[in-house]
């Protein structure tokens, strides 16, 4: 039995920040991470090889529903921050006030958050590209200018040289920032550890049972006796672990995602930059609809055209002229995460409403309209019975017949599976992440956002996690 003061489960943006904050405040911190520690640059960024190594299930897990939604979860030290696009949004006062009011969350005004956001922005070197953005990113800017739609360059956590172009930045992931800081302040970070369950007694977690992987096929059990537990395993694994441990109240019932439809756009010029993603987004329709660019290596182009890629083989053969774009929406429908006995992966289901379907089709139409306005010669939306769109008239015809079930949907933003708030009928955790009805177990990751925010969520997740750490250290109840 290992006695620890604070046990942090998961080392993604929520867990890494929690570990650093608490260790730097003098707490004895122990971090458990299921995946491995992989240095930035070991795998080609945004490649299939990286998906294989740094995502759970090689980045292809499915939320069941009609239609199903393919989702990706980072796995390994640093979690999603090691593999995502690195796009940062500071949570704005409108979003925070709206959440505070609708979900009965205390102390969530901009004033409560802004200092935390500033510290995170400094630590992660959040900034825009000093030099040139990628040609695939310029496409979005150009299309927006042609249509009169607002676009913006979204800042990223990157260290750039004074005149660096987009591809030359160094990503400031958790393994480069908060995890080393946590270690510096005395935290222990153990990788290759799967947490099996939390053991509860009364209002407390008294023990945490885990399995340490030693070599393929060889493992040993580990037992921890923590004073405090922070569950930061992400919006799928956090509720699954809590359910396995018998903590089920409002856990896993309100998963929210931003479903995305994608399209490959082909241009006269070479626009593809396989190892970087566009930094421009269309903000005109925020927060309902967001349009941006995705990682577009040749393999990923093929994946987007699957299962009909053979019909459009010239697109992947001529991949330098093509790039992938997405349109993401907020949804009225929700998902569920349900831990299953004897299986590692929980069952994830997602129910989209008719209105969600209409918004997704509308989002797809607006995205293609933008791509044509930016000069695309051909657009291939990722839909059942894939088609090649050459003109605006082709888009009109497609839009008239597209139904929700025809869309190939995927998502990378998973949240809200253990939502925070004081309304115990809806919320799984209180305004600061403590699980209702328990004294020493908290959630501090994407799970506690009350809904999907309509933008890349990592900046919001970290700011709220940082605020929760401050409340914990101050002894707030």
């Amino acid at each position: 039995m290992i006695d620890v003061e604070v046990l942090v489960i998961g080392s993604g943006p929520g867990g890494a920040l929690t570990a650093a904050r608490l260790a730097e405040a003098g707490r004895q911190v122990f971090v458990l991470e299921e995946g491995d520690w992989i240095e930035v640059g070991e795998h080609e960024p945004f490649s299939l090889d990286q998906m294989e190594a740094q995502y759970r299930n090689a980045g292809q897990t499915v939320a069941l529903g009609r239609p199903p939604i393919i989702y990706t979860e980072g796995r390994g030290a640093g979690g999603g921050s090691e593999v995502n696009s690195g796009l940062y949004h500071r949570p704005g006062p409108e979003l925070l006030d709206d959440w505070a009011r609708r979900f009965a969350i205390r102390d969530l005004s901009e004033r409560d958050i802004v200092e935390h956001s500033r510290e995170i922005e400094k630590t992660l070197s959040v900034g825009t590209v000093p030099g040139a953005v990628t040609p695939a990113s310029s496409v979005i800017e150009r299309g927006g200018a042609a249509l009169g739609w607002a676009t913006r360059e979204v800042p990223r956590w990157m260290v750039y040289g004074e005149t660096s172009d987009a591809g030359d930045g160094e990503r400031q992931t958790m393994t480069r920032t908060y995890l080393p800081r946590a270690r510096e302040a005395g935290a222990t970070i153990m990788t290759g550890v799967h947490v099996d369950r939390l053991v509860k007694r009364g209002r407390r977690i008294v023990e945490v049972r885990a399995t340490k992987r030693l070599a393929p096929g060889i493992s040993e059990p580990l037992r921890f006796r923590p004073e405090h537990v922070f569950v930061c395993a992400g919006a799928i694994q956090t509720p699954a672990l809590l359910q396995r441990s018998g903590l089920r109240t409002n856990v896993g019932r309100t998963l929210a995602v931003h479903p995305m439809v994608k399209a490959v756009a082909r241009f006269d010029d070479a626009i593809n930059v396989p190892d970087d993603v566009p930094v421009h987004q269309v903000k005109e329709f925020a927060p309902n609809i967001s349009i941006g660019g995705s990682a577009s290596g040749p393999g990923l182009l093929g994946l987007a055209l699957a299962p009909e890629w053979a019909r459009f083989a010239e697109v992947t053969a001529d991949w330098e002229h093509s790039s992938l774009y997405y349109a993401a929406t907020r949804t009225q429908g929700h998902g569920r995460v349900q831990a299953l006995p004897f299986l590692d992966d929980p069952l994830v289901t997602y129910r989209l409403t008719r209105g969600d379907g209409k918004m997704l089709v509308h989002a797809l139409e607006r995205m293609v309209h933008l791509l044509f306005a930016a000069g695309a010669r051909r657009v291939y939306p990722s839909v059942a019975e894939a088609v090649e769109l050459r003109t605006a008239a082709d888009l009109t015809e497609l839009g008239q017949r597209l139904k929700l079930r025809d869309l190939n949907l995927m998502t990378v933003h998973l949240c809200s599976s253990v939502p925070m708030g004081e309304d115990r009928a809806r919320a799984g955790v209180d305004s600061f992440g403590r699980i209702h009805g328990f004294d020493n177990v908290r959630v501090n990751d994407a799970s506690l956002l009350p809904e999907a925010p309509g933008l890349n969520p990592q900046g919001t997740i970290m700011a709220i996690a940082s605020r929760n750490c401050a409340a914990f250290l101050a002894g707030a109840r």
Binding site: W149, M359, H362, E365, V368, H369, L395, G399, Q400
Partner: protein, 351 residues
């Protein structure tokens, strides 16, 4: 040389409002109707579809040359455009609620014929009056259509008005025509037809169906604001090839539209029912489906079509018209509805 202004669809709601404004009948001190006067010198030429519309045009513009005929008939158009090089053309003719769904095609065929004749004649600015229908319905109650959006035509009318816009755009792209497209949503105000009057009556009796909570929004345009927008589109030199939403300043929730009409009626001393019929949202969706089903089979049923649209949000953003044309809607829903009710009463229309 005197300037000529040609208005098609002159016997309709908008056509009569335009001519009344151009002739000076509307707006010049006649506060019982209100609205902006755009009185102009020169020749007013009006095209109406049938002879029984002629009197209605002459009432509002007694000096107008009225031509009677089908806008798809080249002989009719030839006479209408005779010697009219350099003229302003306001193409406001269209079929909204036909007897058969196939009749919608008149909108695109008519636009093609009128545009062809306008090119042959060598007219000046051509203002094409379109609609929200080529863009369908918004995908969320807080969504608004921007000036530049993908076409998503709503059933037969939407498709015909989209095709008409495409005809105009092709002529502009070929360098043959100096055209601007104006897109009004649902309008209201003086010269209103019977269908709008029956809307008022349903509201007065409390039996106008409100779907769900009525939180869906509709952009509307007071007809005087629309006339002003059209004149600005006619006069703005660098607007060739552009398309603009011309509407009131903001979209109105359906609940507000109904409440405002009730208030305007009550203020005019008309007894208004206090009840309000509410209908589950589902019925609107069913009506939409039934409308689509019938239209695919060549039939058109006005009530079904209108009910199918009632629970939808159809909202647009006028900021491009504000920025490029200097358009500013001066009459809002409350004032506009008051003027509409007064106009009806002045005409002896029972509400």
């Amino acid at each position: 040389m005197t300037h000529t202004t040609i208005v098609t669809g002159a016997g309709g709601w908008l056509g009569r409002a335009l001519l009344a404004s151009f002739s000076g009948v509307w707006g010049s001190g006649d506060t019982s109707i209100g609205g902006e006067s755009h009185a102009r010198d020169g020749v007013l030429r009006a095209l109406v579809h049938t002879a029984n519309e002629v009197a209605g045009v002459l009432v509002v513009a007694e000096g107008a040359e009225v031509h009677v005929g089908d806008m798809t008939d080249p002989e009719v158009l030839k006479r209408l455009f005779e010697g009219a090089d350099g003229a302003t053309v306001i193409h406001a003719a269209g079929v909204i609620h036909p007897k058969r769904a196939s009749d919608f095609v008149v909108n695109s065929v008519g636009a093609r014929a009128v545009v062809a004749q306008a090119i042959t004649t060598g007219v000046g600015r051509f203002v094409h009056v379109s609609s929200n229908s080529p863009f369908g319905v918004n995908s969320a109650p807080d969504d608004v259509f921007r000036a530049d959006e993908p076409y998503r035509p709503y059933l037969g009318y939407g498709r015909s008005k989209m095709d008409a816009e495409l005809v105009v755009r092709a002529a502009v792209d070929a360098g043959d025509l100096d055209a601007v497209i104006v897109r009004p949503p649902w309008f209201y105000g003086p010269f209103q037809p019977e269908r709008q009057t029956s809307f008022f009556r349903l509201v007065r009796r409390g039996i106008f169906p409100m779907f769900g909570a009525g939180e869906n929004r509709r952009s509307m345009v007071y007809i005087g604001n629309l006339v002003d927008g059209i004149v600005r589109a006619e006069q703005q030199a660098d607007a060739t090839g552009k398309a603009y939403w011309i509407a009131d300043a903001r979209p109105y929730p359906m609940t507000e539209v109904v409440a405002t009409v009730k208030q305007a009626l009550a203020d005019a001393g008309i007894k208004v029912s206090e009840r309000q019929v509410r209908v589950p949202r589902l019925f609107g969706d069913l009506a939409e489906k039934a409308d689509g089903f019938l239209q695919e089979r060549g039939r058109y049923q006005q009530e079904l079509h209108v009910v199918g649209e009632l629970n939808k949000t159809i909202a647009c953003d006028i900021s491009a018209a504000r920025a490029d044309l200097g358009y500013e809607p001066t009459v809002d829903l409350a004032e506009g509805m008051r003027r509409s009710v007064r106009w009806c009463l002045d005409q002896g229309i029972e509400l």
